[in-house]
Symmetry: C2
Subunit: 358 residues, 2 copies
């Protein structure tokens, strides 16, 4: 079975379905399973060192002959304000005490994006996707020269237009429904919480490149609706969190399977950058400090060891439970099976739509 | 042409399309045009006195034999705090001065909902829709006894379930994309800003009654996408603001036609209840006082004369420019023509979806 759009034909995939890159969820097994099932698997490379990136891309390539994507965060050098860091450490101290382990400090604030980008150009994956910021036309030309298809993430129509202007081949439209970090880069985060019915439709109507719908899509009905609005593919993240191939801790998987549509909220508590996750005690306790937390990646580096310790202790109250507003529709199926189900559902829904005409 | 769902068959309409009730936009002409074009027209009766309601329902009935809806806000008695009112009047004073007219005080705080409800039961319109709160099972039984089909507005799945429990015949799912007042009644407003891809899909999957999708739907692609997610009809409000039959002041129509997806925001500035509108200087100036403004309908009563004066003076900076996130896709067509276009677009999109299958 196949569902054809101009984007699937250009990418050489049979289903208009991209597995969203997610730090803490994404594994090579997950990406391979999606690729082999005819979707586009993604590697979340943003938190990998250049060496680890090179190694993982090589591994992925050795396990599938099908196209795949590698995702990076477009970031400048970390902005470290020592006083802000000290305050954040004080706010985090009670959680270390609660876990009964000594505070562990990060070994580095974040990855070096220019070095990651060099590895990406050299590795030349079939597809590279970007979020948090925007590339220059020169950077995109370097990827194009290596045959890499470039996807930029946008949360407003203006951001989508900016990506088209620098030469992106497709735009991933991240709606307010989406779980995890917001990709907003041109306006305040609060001004870019646009629902999929508005964002996907406006981007598809206005942009000269294919649009990928990301946010609130969990099943064939969602994929078919995104195509109906004019998107050329759907990117599903939360739908894959509960898969056995996902590296999310069991407590995160459990929270996703038991969420409701109003149980998520945007928070800076975990990383310093607004991200959608299921509300838990850590998020609530940090809410009062939201405005004063260090920016990404500094807060992310400060909480990473804490979250690792919390995962080991199976403490869902201290984990980052990133998830989208449609989390309740998650299914804990093996990824290949899930992709098969999604493809069949999408086809059935598209067929049923035509049957409404009297 | 017709597009059949279980709801269109139950209501006796040919298109799965409801014109959203909007105070300041809704006219009898608009409702009649939509009804005669095979959609479901709505009368926004919430701000009408019981006598005016009776009169307008009679007029509407005399002009169409097709089904129509009447909408009310479910409200208790106004909560008037004199100190809060005085403060709000002080904040509004500069705008009166700017308009160069003397402050005009409201003649009443709001309509008497129980009295409006009695008129509704007596008038027995084919359809009655409600927002802001929830009816009792007894109230719904009284409407059912008169043959009226009851639609309740919900912004979370829990609110949808509550409406089903009291006996509503259908639930209108109001997504975050929607323009105008939020219908939230069970949780804080900020916890109920759920995008259509999540809200429509979850309600359609979980509720035992038909779901009407409301928010971000402006064209046939949007209607078809809502049906694809499992909704039985779409309710379009913003799409009708610029129609010649709408009573919106020209400045409001102009703002809708020139909006972008990120030009709307939620505000309590106009009415005391969160509503989505296009950001303008009045909204920005009042932002600092958002938390201290009187609740609906008190703030609404205080700003109503100001907005009437602003409309007369063609001052878009002081008008309530309520609109949804998909406002940029508005078309200034006569309502009957717009409904015809919407029907043809929906049919074409449903047909095209099936053609993607390879």
């Amino acid at each position: 079975m196949s569902i054809k759009t101009s984007l699937t034909q250009r990418l050489g995939i049979d289903l208009p379905l991209i597995q969203g890159p997610m730090n803490g969820v994404s594994t090579i097994d997950l990406a391979v399973a999606v690729c082999e099932a005819e979707g586009l698997g993604s590697l979340a490379a943003a938190i990998l060192s250049p060496a680890a990136m090179r190694e993982q891309i090589a591994q992925l390539r050795s396990r599938t002959t099908r196209p795949f994507a590698v995702n990076l965060f477009v970031l400048g050098a970390p902005q470290v304000d020592e006083a802000q860091v000290l305050r954040a450490r004080e706010w985090l101290a009670p959680f270390w005490r609660e876990l009964g382990v000594a505070e562990e400090l990060p070994s580095q604030w974040g990855q070096d994006f220019p070095a990651q980008f060099e590895v990406l150009v050299e590795a030349a994956p079939p597809v590279a996707s970007f979020t948090f910021g925007i590339l220059s036309a020169e950077q995109i030309e370097r990827l194009h020269a290596r045959g890499t298809f470039v996807i930029g993430t946008a949360t407003t129509l203006a951001e989508g237009r900016a990506w088209v202007e620098v030469g992106a081949d497709a735009v991933c439209a991240q709606a307010t429904e989406a779980g995890g970090h917001r990709g907003t880069f041109l306006v305040p985060f609060d001004d870019a919480l646009i629902g999929g019915f508005a964002l996907y439709r406006q981007m598809a109507a206005a942009l000269a490149v294919p649009v990928i719908a990301a946010g609130g899509i969990m099943d064939g009905q969602g994929i078919a609706a995104a195509l109906t609005l004019g998107a050329q593919a759907a990117q599903l993240g939360t739908a894959f969190i509960a898969c056995p191939e996902s590296s999310a801790p069991p407590a995160w998987k459990h929270a996703v399977m038991h969420a409701s549509a109003d149980s998520t909220r945007l928070t800076r508590a975990y990383s310093g950058r607004p991200a959608r996750g299921i509300v838990n005690p850590f998020m609530q306790a940090m809410q009062a400090h939201e405005a004063e937390l260090p920016p990404y990646p500094v807060q992310n580096a400060l909480t990473s060891p804490l979250r690792r310790a919390a995962a080991k202790a199976e403490r869902a109250d201290l984990l980052a439970l990133f998830a989208g507003q449609n989390a309740p529709l998650a299914r804990a199926l093996p990824a290949a099976e899930l992709v098969g189900v999604l493809g069949r559902e999408t086809a059935a829904v598209l067929r049923a739509g035509a049957a409404l005409l009297g």
